[in-house]
Subunit: 348 residues, 2 copies
DNA sequence: CTGAAAGCGCTTACAG
DNA sequence: CTGAAAGCGCTTACAG
């Protein structure tokens, strides 16, 4: 069997292109990689052969031999691609990657640390050029080796712990403060906090912002008004019931600060079910589609997931391309969006 | 320089593992690939070396030499990963892929046919094992070569045109019929249609379902009540204004069938802005988060994007694994979700 | 400007 | 059970 047809796949190889163009493999490679230094005639012959055979460079082979080992692929490990925050971050990364000629491997971690480590292995096994991670692990020291081996990592949404790397995060503490300030400005003093799993750094930061702002206003936080670790629908409903049904009227909150999306939705649903959506104020952390269609409109501390993703992608490609400046944490500030629920005044 | 340290990357190779374990490269390969036929002692030695060096198989190299050419990666070309429908389809594919040991390259097409063709090239260049595509092109014959070269393709959301392949789609025509039937059952006769770009097959199918149901009920469709090609916010707002402001009262619709998500939201917003959300009925195609928090709750024809994604993924991996049965189109039926807007009765 | 040889890290095809 | 040689499709390092 002649060498040029010994391949297993049906796809044409560079060797086929070279043969058809009547040049050497190396010359064909030069043309395909735009290396220059090839006569006009041969260049044209190769391009014609490429078109004729519909040749596509095999990235696996190319990357394997290449000095830089580039695969033109990056990995994105996010919380859950099906939630709007992760999806927006992903999309921004996708858009930047496309400009840079790279493709994106995406994966959802669902707050599972084992999943994170497994996916990092899968991705580095495929020699991605860089990784974006919204970590589910408590410590990221295990990434030391990956970075040393040449895979830059940029964190999004959550700062790294026990590991030095770039990160792009939202202004969680500041945003939570703003929420509380806003409610206090509308006369509220009994402001409940409903937050996600405390082990999630953003949830912790939002609580810190809440607590700091309350203290700053000289308000004592009634422990009965603080509900942590609300992850998923059921615990949220329970917490809302505790606050709105179980507490005696004078101990009930006049306002809710719901520190995460799912919690906000549960709270709105709970208020509506009790017919109290125009009586109890609410500010939610993180915006969502349709927040304005609900009546009253839901006041939120809006994050900017697209800005987070874009910035992370810029840093990522800069690192991949050799930027070795000290790592930094960038904070994308949040924005208060007043739509109604946050402007309900406290009863006197 | 000794052979074992000649590599460019800092990552250990199988050669390093073999050297450390005191076996040949081939034996190390046998252990890593669970081929069997290796003594307990050597197996253990290799496993220890793998652990000690934190060895990860290089998929590029592995795939390059492998007879089947598998890369353990699949590609997903969807409309826009940032919209909930695409995101859910993607997520289902991700979940199935994980079980199968594959990673997913995702990409958004944004209704751009060139983007679709470019991304197919990028993905096949990386030798993905299979492709899921929600096509933006009008014809998909160009994929013939890819399939012949061994990359199976499964379509989601839209059937292929001019090309024979598996597809998993929603029951668009049936769903639209159901919407109209429901509105007619509530006394409506002047039912407006607001749809996306007619060139999008799902939009066309939904219109067909609408038209068929109207005819079936003996209702003549007033051309002034039909608005096609509403893509994006602005044209939707214009169409709503035409219907609710420009038409004389007796020619206005008493009900709206909004055949796509963005259109539904625009219509709800338009009705609210005019204080008519409890007067004009509405059924939207495609469900979305929070549809129940809006008052009145938004009645929709719900698709099941997760079911579509799961089914597509099953077919995809079956094809990759050699299933050569005739291709088929599977329809995932929609479901009417009554929440309020669709149950508003026509004025008499 | 051009190309023959070697080699990236792995698996295949063979031979012991 | 084990391993030396060849080769996947490409780029590198050299030599003309």
């Amino acid at each position: 069997m002649p060498a040029a047809t010994r391949r297993t796949s049906g796809r044409p190889t560079l060797r086929d292109v070279a043969a058809l163009a009547g040049v050497s493999l190396k010359t064909a490679s030069r043309v395909v990689n735009d290396e220059g230094g090839v006569t006009e005639a041969k260049t044209e012959a190769v391009r014609t052969a490429v078109r004729q055979l519909d040749y596509r460079r095999n990235y696996s082979a190319s990357s394997l031999r290449r000095a830089d080992g580039r695969t033109a692929a990056v990995g994105a490990l996010l919380e859950d691609l099906a939630n709007p925050f992760s999806a927006e971050v992903y999309r921004a990364l996708e858009d930047v990657s496309r400009e840079r000629g790279s493709l994106v491997f995406a994966a959802s971690l669902d707050e599972d640390p084992r999943q994170e480590r497994a996916m990092v292995r899968e991705l580095t096994g495929r020699r991605v050029d860089a990784l974006v991670i919204a970590p589910a692990t408590e410590h990221q020291g295990y990434l030391e080796q990956e970075v040393a081996d040449g895979t830059p990592v940029v964190f999004v949404d959550r700062r790294p712990t026990g590991f030095d790397a770039d990160a792009v995060v939202a202004g969680n503490t500041e945003g939570a403060r703003t929420a509380v300030d806003h409610l206090v400005a509308h006369g509220h003093r009994r402001i409940a906090f409903l937050g996600d799993l405390q082990r999630i750094p953003t949830a912790a930061e939002r609580y810190n912002g809440y607590a700091a702002a309350m203290a700053n206003h000289g308000l004592v936080v009634d422990a009965a008004l603080v509900h942590h670790d609300l992850h998923g629908q059921a615990p949220c409903d329970t917490a809302v019931a505790r606050l709105l049904d179980d507490l005696p009227p004078d101990r009930q909150p006049t306002a809710l600060f719901t520190a995460q999306n799912v919690i906000t939705v549960a709270a709105v649903r709970g208020l509506q079910a009790r017919g109290r959506e125009r009586e109890v104020a609410l500010v939610g952390f993180d915006d969502f589609p349709l927040a304005e269609l609900v009546r009253p409109g839901i006041t939120v501390i809006a994050q900017d997931p697209r800005a987070i993703g874009l910035r992370a992608a810029q840093i990522l490609f800069a690192r991949r391309d050799g930027d070795t400046s000290p790592s930094r944490v960038e904070v994308i500030e949040t924005r208060l969006v007043q739509r109604g629920t946050g402007e309900i005044r406290a009863p006197r």
